[in-house]
Symmetry: C2
Subunit: 210 residues, 2 copies
């Protein structure tokens, strides 16, 4: 036997795992794009496969079925929204309103991504009962964070008194609409839209006296 190293066409186990992860992420990103554009029922896995230059059966190697893909997309969008709330700087020099606005801007930006649009545009009624329960748990957590930020701002006087529960609903509703409109009106997407939304929510429709 020669001492020369034989280059195996099979990859080492850890490489295989990370390659599998990369591929699964690519499938997920393509699925999110198609779900966000077409909605759940009109989304075709053929289109997902086409984006990735693979055949449809290849997709099933990464996800059991279409519903599992949808669940993973919604879950990923919601996890990102939740993480945006957890990563908030809590510096003492900022007001509660500043911290809320920083969160709302991140939230709005996520709603412009494919995953955010999936989470917002596709009803969780499409999911199985088990998946829906998981998704609702994350939604509850996001809602809790939003209420907490509002309550803290009311407490330090930087936010006008209101029912934090209703205000959280109204803010989330307004920002979720970014995920709804985004596709139909791409010219409006991006920073300008987010800034106009935030200005409306912070300052209201009525002009302020200087």
């Amino acid at each position: 036997m020669s001492g020369q190293a034989i280059s195996s066409p099979w990859k080492k186990a850890p490489d295989r795992r990370s390659e599998r992860n990369l591929k699964q992420e690519a499938v997920l990103a393509a699925a999110a794009r198609v779900f966000a554009e077409r909605g759940y029922h009109r989304a075709s896995l053929d289109e997902v496969a086409q984006i990735l230059n693979v055949t449809k059966p290849t997709l099933y190697y990464y996800f059991k079925n279409k519903e599992a893909m949808l669940f993973a997309c919604i879950q990923h969008g919601l996890d990102t929204l939740e993480a945006a709330g957890e990563a908030m700087p809590d510096a003492e020099e900022t007001t509660g309103l500043d911290r809320l606005v920083a969160y709302l801007k991140r939230y709005a930006g996520i709603n412009e991504t494919d995953f955010g649009r999936c989470a917002v545009r596709i009803s969780d009624a499409e999911l199985s009962d088990t998946s829906r329960k998981k998704v609702r748990r994350v939604k509850t957590e996001i809602d809790r964070k939003l209420r907490e930020l509002i309550s803290n701002g009311i407490a330090d006087g930087s936010i006008a008194p209101s029912d934090p529960k209703i205000t959280a609903f109204a803010l989330a509703g307004a920002l979720n609409s970014i995920g709804h409109w985004h596709q139909r009106d791409t010219e409006l997407a991006g920073q300008k839209m987010i800034e106009e939304y935030i200005a409306l929510l912070v300052n209201g429709l009525a002009p302020r006296r200087k």
Copy 2:
């Protein structure tokens, strides 16, 4: 032959027509309730039939299929929203902001009804291409009215300057969320919720100086 009037078990043609209309409206109201609660795909026509104490085949006498029912429900919801805009008083003594707020209140109230919830909660991606085009036309009309009210308010100085297109999206997004949350959180429904939403949209999160 006796001159006594014979009471026919068949109704006169005009009565038959109006009875048919009444029944069709009842089918529509029951369908709207079920679609709003369950979403389109989970909605069962058995449940619609049960609400009306009829058998499922009876429903097909009034609507060709489930999609036709959904279309009629969404259309009805949107028509009501559009009519609310047309019926706006245009008195000269009111400001543009007053007129916008009056419209937003009606809009919010409609979003709490079953038809409004259908229009808001169920994606028009569920509809056939023809139906979707019709629905989009009414949505465009509603959007146009909202932008017009905002522009008029900006023109008379009662509304702070903004891009009316984006502001209309943000307002509609916030108010549409009433239709989304309504079911899950019934304690929040009603006048208090609408008033808090309007206060946020008119005055903003930041406190106003007295």
